[in-house]
């Protein structure tokens, strides 16, 4: 009788080798299902052929340490880029930066700086290029500090023109900052709560009528020997401590999450805090309110990468590939009259045209939608396209006058409506030169000289020469290299209608931070918390809550003081003033020592905590400012250790992982913070 098999396939009757193969096949198929599928186009860098070729030459020359050849290749890449109307080549820049880091230790700092300076032409709007230049200058020593600072400033300014890098950078800072801030607020909140738990317990126990919360005098000690006292006082202590414990833990257990619970901790102890601690409480609660926004910044690149604004912006600021174009065409079908989409598609046609008539005509057709809508970028780009079209068509060996007139009209219109922009004055001067209007060209060039603040003024001579030549159509490449795109509203287009400072739907760590509380409530809780903290300060002054007697370190409060002696005066200290005459001072010292042994425990615990987690012990000891600073630094260092490479990576301007495997930052930060805490513990050992 054959074996009955319950499998869909006849698995049980298979040979073992076949069975193993089948298992592997099933495994593979299931893995493919969960694996990350990417489009082949995503792996390939598509660039104009000449640029691709020169990029290879540049990288190979750098690998050979042939800097002269590398510089020549860089210059050619720049030239081709401008001719092709491509504002930036981030992929080439990324490859350059990768190679630069690879060879930076082996070439002279000055040569390195010159190479980095020359390479700016590859991607003049990419901030990383300026930072690489700053790094190269820094290798020159003290004399490089000035130029490096200048490069850093330029790099920072470049972020405005290259919002993708800005967003990635902000998101990376937010990523590391978020973890560090969470560590800071939770640990500092917990430590402050522990620091003041005795006062809180004392005041809670004061709710019970006539309950002696603290044993003050020797007479009270005598009373405390009675069974009734022991039972009632023990019960009171247990109940008070249980209330404090409930206050500390219950919100977390009931799903309030760590952040709202920390707010509660801080509110409950705020009335007892000293001035600097009050500042720390406000800072911590404020930070909790801001954390969701920081959390959203962490997720921002994933959001912006999917927006149409990113595609449109990319098509304008980078080399616009057909893959991006396909997405844009899909969008244009949905919104055929969208000015931004059509202008981006026009730019795609312009970049891909290779200064050929058909492509330029398609570009002009796309730009026309924007021109009709009076979109300045479309006007400027359309004017540029008309100039190139006139040179591309070149009827009778002369530039097409009709297109030149149209270009002149568009340039003039742009200048009249939106001011004398250098790119437009430049185009106008070229058009006027090609039309033979030399006087007007000179006037435009004069205006251009007033408008630009560039040290390199050679372009004036080039424009005069090229536009006044006998066969300008043969100079189409050189002339197109003199044409510049109009200014572009990078931020507005990139972000579109997106609100950067909105709130995310969740926070990290599976809801541990916010619990079941909706994220929008957290800033509200923070604001309410701040109001309650201020109310607690005011009420605390009125109620005269428990304090620590500065002389004997006992906890005292007005009600207990008056109950004990009739006076609002620490009864322990008062007893020492009226102690029985027969009492030996040595016995009083012994009592005092026993009392202080409790604070001795704190003296031991705080340094241990300070060493285990720098900052926590400092907050516990009442030094919140340095404590918060240390916790923040530790949080950052731990974040860098756990994630040495930044989580947000611009794959389109990727430059490898040099320095990410063994980052120098975290060890330096950790050494610094442990040195700080060791010094702090040593200097405050007697306090």
């Amino acid at each position: 009788m054959p074996n009955r098999c319950c499998c869909l396939v006849n698995f049980c009757t298979m040979r073992s080798s076949t069975r193993l193969l089948t298992i592997l096949m099933i495994l593979m198929v299931s893995l493919v299902a969960i694996a990350s599928a990417i489009r082949p186009s995503e792996m390939l860098v598509r660039l104009p052929e000449r640029i691709q070729s020169e990029t290879g030459t540049m990288l190979a020359s750098m690998w050979r340490r042939d800097l002269r050849a590398a510089k020549s290749a860089i210059a050619r890449i720049g030239e081709y880029r401008i001719e092709a109307q491509i504002p930036n080549l981030p992929a080439v820049a990324g490859a350059f930066l990768y190679r630069l880091r690879e060879i930076s230790e082996e070439i002279q700092p000055v040569a390195l700086a010159v190479l980095a300076q020359d390479a700016l032409i590859i991607a003049p709007d990419l901030p990383d290029m300026y930072f690489a230049l700053a790094g190269a200058h820094m290798k020159m020593g003290l004399e490089g500090i000035g130029p490096a600072t200048g490069a850093v400033i330029q790099g920072l300014q470049a972020h405005l023109r290259f919002p993708r890098t800005m967003i990635y950078r902000v998101a990376n800072v937010a990523f590391y900052g978020f973890g560090a801030l969470v560590l800071m607020v939770v640990m500092a909140g917990a430590m402050m709560f522990i620091r003041y738990r005795r006062l809180l317990t004392h005041d809670i126990s004061d709710f019970f009528p006539s309950a002696p919360a603290t044993i003050f005098s020797a007479m009270d000690v005598a009373k405390s020997k009675t069974a009734g006292f022991i039972v009632s006082n023990g019960l009171l202590r247990i109940i008070s401590s249980a209330f404090v414990l409930l206050l500390a833990v219950a919100p977390l257990v009931f799903g309030a999450g760590l952040l709202p619970t920390a707010v509660l901790w801080l509110i409950s102890i705020s009335a007892y805090t000293r001035r600097t601690e009050k500042l720390a409480v406000v800072l911590l609660i404020g930070t909790i309110g801001v954390l969701p926004i920081i959390g959203h910044l962490v997720l921002l690149p994933a959001e912006t990468d999917r927006t149409p604004g990113h595609r449109i912006w990319s098509c304008y600021r980078e080399y616009c590939t057909y893959e991006v174009g396909t997405d844009l065409v899909r969008m244009s079908i949905e919104r055929p009259n969208d000015v931004l989409i059509n202008t981006a598609l026009g730019n795609l046609e312009l970049q891909q045209s290779g200064n050929r008539s058909v492509g330029l005509e398609a570009a002009i057709a796309r730009f026309d939608i924007g021109v009709k809508a009076d979109f300045p970028v479309a006007i400027g780009l359309s004017a540029n396209s008309h100039v190139l079209k006139s040179l591309a068509d070149c009827p009778l060996g002369e530039p097409d006058k009709e297109h030149l007139r149209e270009a002149q009209r568009l340039y003039t219109s742009h200048i009249d409506k939106y001011g004398a922009e250098p790119a437009m004055l430049r185009g106008l001067a070229i058009v006027q030169g090609l039309l033979g209007e030399r006087d007007q060209m000179e006037a435009s060039l004069t205006d251009l000289l007033h408008a630009v603040n560039d040290d390199d003024l050679d372009f004036v001579a080039r424009i005069r020469t090229l536009s006044g030549g006998h066969a300008p159509c043969r100079q189409i490449g050189a002339l197109s290299a003199e044409i510049r795109p109009p200014s572009f509203p990078d931020q507005e287009v990139y972000f579109g209608n997106m609100n950067v400072f909105t709130l995310p739907s969740t926070l990290p760590w599976h809801g541990w931070l916010q619990g079941r509380i909706p994220i929008p409530w957290i800033p509200i809780i923070s604001i309410v918390g701040l109001i309650l903290v201020m109310a607690a300060w005011w009420v605390g002054k009125k109620l005269k809550l428990a304090t620590v007697c500065p002389r004997c370190n006992n906890i005292v409060c007005q009600s207990c003081n008056t109950r004990a002696s009739g006076y609002d005066y620490c009864p322990t200290c008062l007893f020492e003033q009226v102690k029985p005459a027969f009492l030996d001072p040595l016995d009083l010292i012994a009592i005092q020592q026993e009392r202080e042994s409790r604070s001795d425990l704190k003296k031991v615990v705080a340094p241990i905590l300070a060493i285990l987690l720098p900052g926590s012990g400092q907050v516990l000891s009442g030094r919140p400012v340095r404590g918060l600073l240390m916790l923040l630094i530790v949080g950052l260092a731990v974040g860098f250790v756990l994630h040495p490479a930044s989580p947000h990576i611009d794959a389109l301007a990727y430059a490898g992982v040099y320095g990410a495997e063994l980052p120098i930052g975290p060890p330096i930060l950790l050494i610094a913070v442990y040195t700080m805490t060791a010094l702090d513990v040593w200097l405050n050992r007697e306090k």
């Binding site: 592997l24 080439v92 019970f208 997720l299 969740t506 079941r516 009492l583």
Partner: protein, 376 residues
């Protein structure tokens, strides 16, 4: 000595032409004649008190009010010694065959100075009480006191002068403080009308008594608590009473106080019960829920932040693929082609292995196995 010789002219006995109390006469005689020996006093109930005199000073007083139990009572009342310490000291005393008091000192529960002071206080108070008694049967044996253990050092002139003074003040004080059982309380309101301790215009003794007044301690109790002795407390109370700072707690007030105390205890017990109930319910509810329960909904949900970290490896690999293609004009053959020239991190191996292009793994099935092993 000359001053004391004149005492007979100034003492109340001479002034009022009444005979001096018997013990007073005996001590005066011993001092005047320079006698050493033991004076024995018969007390009520068949007990006796003995007073050892040596070189004009009383060096030992044996009296029911000076025995070890009284010393322990004071030590216990002022909170220096607890039951556990007494038990410990008792064992120590048995073990080393020493007195309980010495054992307490040896155990470190109390210093020898404090103990000596308490003994002297008890001896002085007992002696001064006896010195004022007129109906006493006193006998003396005059012999050398060499070898007698000195428990106190009370000069006879000081004792006689103190007794003399007390006798002078006795009647006035008794008018205010009829007995040691009476209870006084502060005449001001509970919070002393906002008066500050520092502003009290009182002498040290009065200030001390005033501090300990709580409307519950008797005058005798106050004597022990302050360490001044009962008569000194009575003297301070008389002064405070005359200044209007204290008042007597009369019988009715005591009842009211007891009732108030009972009511307070009842309210306290009730509040304890309510608090226990709240805490129990709170704790039970907390214990009944696990932390993961309220967050369970979130635990299963996707974490976009985790995805950021996971995607980072994928983006690095993608960037490295583009970089490799740009540099070498071809895709890498395997992961090592990217890892060795530091295009990716070694930890990105799994992400690289999981990349599929057109439904097949970029680096082949072998890389997937290696990637899975890395994950493990």
């Amino acid at each position: 000595m000359n001053d004391f010789n004149n005492m007979s002219r100034t003492d109340p006995a001479n002034q009022q032409r009444r005979p001096a109390p018997p013990l007073f006469r005996e001590l005066l005689g011993a001092f005047k004649n320079g006698r050493n020996g033991t004076v024995t006093v018969s007390l009520d109930g068949g007990t006796v008190a003995s007073i050892s005199i040596d070189s004009g000073r009383v060096i030992q007083v044996t009296h029911p009010d000076t025995d070890t139990s009284k010393v322990l009572e004071i030590l216990s009342r002022i909170g220096l010694v607890g039951e556990k310490q007494i038990e410990k000291a008792t064992k120590l005393a048995r073990k080393h065959a020493i007195t309980l008091e010495d054992a307490l000192v040896k155990a470190g529960a109390v210093s020898a100075t404090t103990l000596g002071n308490i003994r002297e206080l008890l001896a002085r108070e007992a002696l001064l009480d006896l010195l004022m008694e007129r109906e006493l049967d006193v006998s003396a044996v005059w012999a050398s006191q060499r070898g007698t253990r000195a428990c106190c050092v009370l000069p006879i002139p000081y004792l006689l002068k103190s007794a003399n003074k007390r006798m002078e003040e006795h009647d006035d004080i008794r008018r205010v403080v009829p007995s040691g059982d009476i209870v006084f309380e502060k005449a001001l309101s509970k919070d002393l009308d906002g008066a500050k301790w520092e502003d009290l215009k009182l002498g040290p003794a009065q200030r001390q008594v005033f501090f300990f007044l709580d409307g519950q301690m008797s005058v005798a109790d106050l004597g022990i608590a302050t360490g001044q002795g009962q008569f000194a407390v009575e003297r301070s109370l008389k002064s405070l009473f005359e200044d209007g700072l204290v008042r007597k707690v009369v019988l009715g007030d005591e009842r009211t106080g007891k009732n108030a105390t009972r009511f307070s205890a009842f309210v306290r017990a009730l509040s304890f019960l309510i608090a226990i109930l709240i805490v129990m319910v709170g704790m039970a509810t907390v214990a009944g829920r696990t932390i993961s329960d309220p967050l369970g909904r979130e635990l299963g949900a996707r974490d976009p932040y985790r995805e950021v970290i996971d995607d980072a490896a994928m983006r690095r690999v993608l960037g490295a693929l583009r970089l490799h293609q740009l540099i070498f004009n071809r895709l890498p053959d395997d992961f090592e082609d990217m890892a060795a020239p530091k295009m990716v991190l070694r930890s990105d191996r799994r992400a690289a292995a999981m990349i599929t292009v057109d439904e097949s793994f970029l680096f082949g099935a072998k890389a997937v196995q290696v990637g899975e092993e890395d994950k493990d």
